[in-house]
C-alpha cells in the first residue's frame, strides 16, 4: 500500500463556520490534499443587474477573471499560472456569483497574490473590456439560439416564467442590454455589488492557518459598500397552459420544457418529500424513472425525459447536480428532450407521408397525464421505499471532490443550513409515504403551466393549431415499431392522443425575436 493511502487515514476534515469581521467563512481542511481550493461567493447574481443593464454582473465577473489584475496583463497572468496547472474562473447565476480558484499546494504561496489581485485589484482595462464584451454580445446575439435547442427551450421557459421580473433575463443579458454596458458601468458595479458586505469565503484542501488569515484580511478589503440585497422575483402563475413556440429554421426536432412556480426550496424540510416523488417521476439522466420509461423506453420517442424541482445547471453535460446555483425563487419543471417533427418523419418513413405534426403534442399530453395520474393515485409503498433508498445513497455522490464538497457546503448556507447533504439524509430517512403524497398534491398540478417548444419553422403553425384546438394527436410510429407494441401500450396511446390539456394560449415567436 502506498504512503499516500496510509497517510490518508490520518486525514483531518474540519468543517468550520466562523465569523471574521462579519464575513462568513466555510472551511474544509484536508491536510493530506495536494491542492487548495478557494471559493469566494457574492450574493448578487444577475438579479443585481440594473433594469437597463442586464448582463452587468456577468460582464463584471468575466472582466475580473478574464482580464488583467494588479497591473499584470491577462496574458501574463495566464503565463504565470501555466506550469502550476492552476486556474480560476467565475460562475454567475441568478442570485450568486462564485469565484473558484484552484492550485496545487506546491504553488499556493506564489498563486495567492493572483487570487488577491483578481478580487481586489482588477485592471478593468479598455482592451480587456472590448474582448470580454464581444464574447458576451455574441452569446446573446447568436450562440444561445444556435448551439443547443434543448438549452434554448430551457432558457426561454425561464423567460416566460419570470417575465417582467428580475429573474427573467439570461444572466448574460439581452442583445440590447449588453450593447449598453460601458466600462464605467462595470467599475461602478464592482464597487457596489462585489463588496465585503455580501461575500462568503470558502476554502478547502491543504491550506495553512496563516493563509486563511491572510485571505480573511484581504477579502475584508473588498469595496466597503453597503450592498442592498435584492429580492428575486417570484415565478408567474400561468393562466391555464400558456405555450410559446419558438420557430427556428433548420431545427431537427421539437425541444420542450414546461414549468410552474414552486414555493419551497432546500430550506424547507418538505422539499425532501417532493424530491422522492420527483426522483420517481423523472430523476435526471436515469433510465428507471417514470417519464423516461414511458416516453423513451417504451415508445422510442427521444433521448430522455426528466423532471426537476429546482434549477439544474447544464443538464446536457452534468450527470450529477453541480453546486453554485442556489436560488430562493423556485419552480418545478419537465424536460422533454427533442422529439421528431413532421418533416423528419415524412422523409424517414413512407407510411408516415401524411402526418401533419410530429410528436410534441403527444409527448406533452403523455407527460402531463403521468403527472395527473400521480397526483390522483399517489406513489405506491414499494416505489416509495425503493426511491427513498436510492436517494439516500445517490445524493451522497453529489459532493466527491474537494471543490464539490466546498461548493455544496456553501450552498447549504444560502438555504440556512449547515451541511445540507448530511441533513438531507436524515430528512429522507424520516419522510413517510403520506408526506410524499401530500407534497405531490400540494405542489404539483397540470392546469396552469408555461410551456416552451423550440421547433422547426415548418412545424410551428401546425403544432400551434393542434395545441390550441386540443386536436387529437395520435402517436405516429413507424411500422417497424408499431407492429411489435403490446396492446396495452396502444390502448394507452389512444387515451393519450385525446387527453385534454387546459391550453388557453399558444404564441409563435420567431427565433430572432427571443431574448431581445
Amino acid at each position: 500500500m502506498s504512503a499516500f493511502i496510509r497517510n490518508s487515514l490520518a486525514i483531518l476534515v474540519l468543517i468550520v463556520a466562523t465569523q471574521a469581521q462579519a464575513i462568513d467563512v466555510v472551511e474544509l481542511k484536508q491536510n493530506n490534499s495536494n491542492k487548495v481550493v478557494f471559493k469566494i461567493r457574492f450574493e448578487n447574481g444577475s438579479i443585481a443587474d440594473p433594469a437597463d443593464k442586464k448582463g452587468l454582473t456577468y460582464a463584471t465577473a468575466s472582466l475580473m477573471t478574464q482580464g488583467g489584475a494588479g497591473g499584470v496583463s491577462y496574458a501574463d497572468l495566464q503565463d504565470k499560472m501555466m506550469p502550476w496547472a492552476a486556474f480560476y474562473g467565475a460562475m454567475v447565476d441568478k442570485q450568486v456569483t462564485t469565484f473558484t480558484f484552484q492550485v496545487p499546494v506546491d504553488f499556493v504561496d506564489e498563486f495567492y497574490p493572483l487570487v488577491k489581485n483578481v478580487l481586489l485589484a482588477p485592471d478593468f482595462s479598455e482592451q480587456d473590456f472590448k474582448r470580454v464584451m464581444k464574447a458576451q454580445q455574441n452569446y446573446v446575439d447568436q450562440v444561445v439560439r444556435a448551439l443547443s435547442d434543448e438549452n434554448y427551450s430551457k432558457f426561454a421557459l425561464e423567460d416566460q416564467l419570470f417575465r417582467r421580473g428580475n429573474m427573467q433575463s439570461l444572466k448574460q443579458g439581452t442583445s440590447a442590454s449588453v450593447k449598453g454596458i460601458s466600462l464605467d458601468d462595470i467599475k461602478t458595479h464592482y464597487r457596489k455589488a462585489f463588496t465585503n458586505n455580501n461575500v462568503t469565503i470558502g476554502i478547502a484542501g491543504n491550506y495553512s492557518d496563516a493563509l486563511l488569515g491572510q485571505l480573511k484580511a484581504d477579502v475584508a478589503k473588498l469595496p466597503d459598500f453597503e450592498y442592498e440585497s435584492v429580492t428575486p422575483s417570484k415565478a408567474n402563475t400561468a393562466d391555464g397552459i400558456e405555450v410559446e413556440i419558438i420557430a427556428k429554421d433548420g431545427a431537427f426536432g421539437s425541444a420542450i420544457f414546461t414549468g410552474a412556480p414552486l414555493p419551497i426550496t432546500r430550506a424547507n424540510d418538505e422539499f425532501a418529500a417532493l424530491m422522492i416523488a420527483n426522483s420517481w417521476m423523472g430523476e435526471h439522466r436515469k433510465s428507471y424513472s417514470r417519464l423516461y420509461q414511458k416516453i423513451r423506453q417504451t415508445r422510442s420517442m427521444n433521448y430522455g425525459d426528466y423532471t426537476y424541482i429546482e434549477w439544474y445547471s447544464a443538464g446536457g453535460s452534468n450527470q450529477l447536480p453541480p453546486s453554485g446555483v442556489p436560488r430562493a425563487s423556485n419552480y418545478w419543471s419537465i424536460w422533454i428532450r427533442p422529439v421528431q417533427i413532421a418533416s423528419q418523419l415524412k422523409s424517414q418513413y413512407q407510411e408516415l407521408a401524411d402526418v401533419s405534426i410530429g410528436h410534441a403534442h403527444f409527448a406533452l399530453r403523455l407527460a402531463l397525464r403521468e403527472f395527473d395520474l400521480l397526483i390522483k393515485n399517489g406513489m405506491g409503498e414499494a416505489d416509495f421505499e425503493a426511491t427513498k433508498t436510492f436517494l439516500r445513497s445517490y445524493t451522497k455522490l453529489y459532493a466527491q471532490s474537494p471543490a464539490q464538497q466546498l461548493g455544496w457546503l456553501m450552498d447549504s448556507r444560502f438555504y440556512g443550513r449547515t451541511d445540507y447533504l448530511a441533513e438531507l439524509d436524515s430528512l429522507l430517512k424520516n419522510t413517510t409515504l403520506q408526506q410524499v403524497n401530500a407534497a405531490i398534491r400540494k405542489y404539483w398540478q397540470t392546469e396552469n403551466l408555461f410551456v416552451t417548444i423550440v421547433t422547426d419553422a415548418s412545424e410551428a403553425q401546425p403544432l400551434a393549431d393542434s395545441l390550441i384546438n386540443n386536436t387529437p394527436s395520435p402517436m405516429s410510429y413507424s411500422d417497424l415499431v408499431k407492429s411489435g407494441l403490446p396492446a396495452e401500450v396502444l390502448a394507452e396511446d389512444d387515451e393519450v392522443a385525446v387527453y385534454p390539456l387546459n391550453i388557453k394560449k399558444v404564441t409563435i415567436v420567431q427565433s430572432a425575436d427571443t431574448f431581445k
Binding site: 423513451r296 426511491t387 445513497s393 413507424s478
Partner: protein, 448 residues
C-alpha cells in the same frame, strides 16, 4: 440496506501529497492487474474513499470497428441495447436492480471503445458484478425492443445535431478519411441510424463478436482490494467464453492534397478548422507526447499565437489545437472561432507562420519545462475521486489494453526535447495532409 455513512464522502479526499512527482510514476497509486484464464484483464486500484467505489467495464469496441457498410453508429447503438435486459432480469427488473445500487451508472461510446460505469456504495460491489456479468454474458432482448431503442438513438442524433459544430465535425471526418472508419462519427450516418431497426440479426452478430473477454477489461477503483475484485471477477466472469473475431479495420491511404469542406450557417460566428493527419497513440514512441507538448506551446491559450489573435488583435474568439489519443492514426486539429469571417485568410496565414516557426526554430528550454510541468500537474489536479481516476485509466485501457500506459506516457513527456518538437512539426504539418473545414454564411468556403 446499509447506506454508507454520511461522513464517508466528506472524508473522501485526494491523496496525492506535495511529493506527487517524487516517484517515477504519474499515478501515485499501485495498479493491480490480474488476467483470468479466459483472457479477461482485471484491474484494481485501491483508493482511500471510504464506502465508495467506481466500477468500469471497458469494451474496446467503438466506431472504429464498424467496418461493414450500412452499420455506422452500431457500437454506440449497442451500448443502448446493453440496458435492455436478459433472461434473468427483464428490462424493467434490470432498471429496478440498477436503482437499488444507488449508484451513478451510465455508459458512453467513442471512436475506439465503449465504457460501462457505475460509481456508488462499495458494499454493493457484488451486486454490481452480478448485474454486469449477467448482461455481458447473457444479454437477450426482443426484436421489438431492438427496433424501439433505435428511436432513442435517433433522438440522441436529433438533439446533438442542432449544433453547427456537430455538423461540421461530421463533414470534417468524412472529408479527411476516405477509407478508415474514423470517417464517420460515433453516432454514425443519419441514414444508417434510420435503418437501425432493420439490423436485428446483425446486432446478435455484433454481440457475439465483441462482448467477449478478450475485448473487455474490468476496472475497479476505490474502497476495494485486488483480492476482493479478482475473486468477484472469477466468480462472475470466469465462465465467459473467449471469442475469435478480429475486426479488419482498413488502413487510410496517404492523403496527397489539401481537402476542403464547408457548412453554410450564419447563426454562429465563422469557424475555421485545419486538420492534419497525425499519429496513433503510442506510449513507447515520442511522436504523440511531442505533439501534445507542441500543441500546448503553439496553440493553447498561453501560446504566442493565442495572445496575438485573441488578446491583442481580438480577431479571434478562441483558438485551440491538438490530437486525440486514438488507436489508429487520427487528426491533429486546430480550431478557430472567428470574430469576423473576413479575417479568416489572415488567421490561417498566422497559423501557418506559427507552424513554420515550430518547424524551423527550437522552442525555448524554459518554456518546454514549464509546459511539461503543466501537463503533469494538470493530471494530478484532476484525479481526486475514484470516478476521475477510473475514467483516466479507462482512457488508456481503450488505447493499449494496459492502464500502465498512463505512467509510460507521462515518462515520455519528461523525455521530449526541442528537437523532438521540430521533428513532429515537420513530420505531421504537411499541406498535402491537411483538411480545412469552415462555417460561415457563405454558400461555399472561402479558403480554397
Amino acid at each position: 440496506m446499509k447506506i454508507f455513512s454520511s461522513t464517508a464522502i466528506l472524508t473522501l479526499l485526494l491523496c496525492i501529497s506535495a511529493s506527487t512527482f517524487a516517484a517515477d510514476k504519474i499515478l501515485p497509486y499501485p495498479i493491480y492487474q490480474h488476467r483470468l484464464d479466459n483472457g479477461l484483464n482485471v484491474v484494481t486500484v485501491p483508493f482511500d474513499s471510504p464506502g465508495l467505489a467506481s466500477f468500469h467495464i471497458v469494451t474496446r469496441v467503438g466506431a472504429r470497428n464498424e467496418v461493414e457498410p450500412g452499420v455506422t453508429g452500431f457500437a454506440h447503438f449497442f451500448e443502448h441495447m446493453m440496458f435492455r435486459g436478459t433472461d434473468k432480469y427483464s428490462k424493467e427488473e434490470y432498471s429496478a436492480a440498477l436503482k437499488s445500487t444507488g449508484a451513478a451508472a451510465n455508459a458512453n461510446t467513442t471512436q475506439d471503445r465503449t465504457d460501462y460505469h457505475m460509481t456508488g456504495n462499495s458494499n454493493k460491489l457484488e451486486l454490481m458484478f452480478e448485474l454486469e456479468s449477467d448482461r455481458f454474458l447473457n444479454l437477450n432482448y426482443s426484436e421489438h425492443d431492438f427496433k424501439t431503442e433505435a428511436g432513442a438513438v435517433k433522438g440522441e442524433y436529433t438533439k446533438n445535431f442542432a449544433s453547427p459544430y456537430s455538423q461540421i465535425y461530421e463533414k470534417r471526418l468524412e472529408t479527411a478519411f476516405t477509407t478508415h472508419t474514423y470517417s464517420h462519427t460515433t453516432m454514425g450516418y443519419f441514414k444508417d441510424i434510420v435503418d437501425m431497426p432493420n439490423q436485428y440479426e446483425y446486432s446478435k452478430k455484433f454481440f457475439d463478436r465483441y462482448y467477449r473477454p478478450e475485448y473487455n477489461t474490468i476496472l475497479v477503483v476505490g474502497d476495494v482490494t485486488p483480492e476482493q475484485v479478482n475473486a468477484l471477477s472469477e466468480k462472475y466472469f470466469g465462465k465467459w467464453e473467449r471469442g475469435s473475431y478480429v475486426s479488419d479495420v482498413p488502413v487510410e491511404p496517404e492523403q496527397n492534397e489539401t481537402r476542403y469542406t464547408h457548412l453554410q450557417n450564419g447563426d454562429i460566428p465563422a469557424f475555421l478548422s485545419m486538420s492534419y493527419k497525425g499519429p496513433a497513440f503510442n506510449d513507447s514512441e515520442i511522436d504523440m507526447p511531442a505533439l501534445d507538448v507542441l500543441a500546448s506551446i503553439v496553440f493553447s491559450s498561453t501560446s504566442d499565437l493565442s495572445k496575438k489573435l485573441v488578446i491583442d488583435e481580438q480577431k479571434v474568439r478562441s483558438i485551440s489545437g491538438g490530437a486525440p489519443d486514438s488507436r489508429d492514426p487520427n487528426l491533429f486539429t486546430i480550431q478557430v472561432s472567428m470574430v469576423e469571417k473576413d479575417d479568416m485568410s489572415y488567421v490561417m496565414d498566422e497559423i501557418n507562420k506559427a507552424i513554420a516557426k515550430a518547424q524551423t526554430e527550437d522552442v525555448d528550454a524554459a518554456l518546454l519545462e514549464r509546459t511539461k510541468s503543466h501537463l503533469k500537474y494538470g493530471f494530478a489536479m484532476g484525479i481526486d475521486t475514484p470516478g476521475a481516476i477510473a475514467q483516466s485509466l479507462s482512457h488508456y485501457i481503450q488505447l493499449t489494453g494496459d492502464p500502465e500506459s498512463v505512467n509510460r506516457l507521462y515518462a515520455q513527456y519528461d523525455k521530449v526535447t526541442a528537437e523532438n518538437l521540430r521533428m513532429v512539426a515537420n513530420k505531421y504539418f504537411k499541406p498535402e495532409h491537411l483538411t480545412i473545414a469552415t462555417i460561415s454564411d457563405d454558400e461555399s468556403g472561402a479558403m480554397k
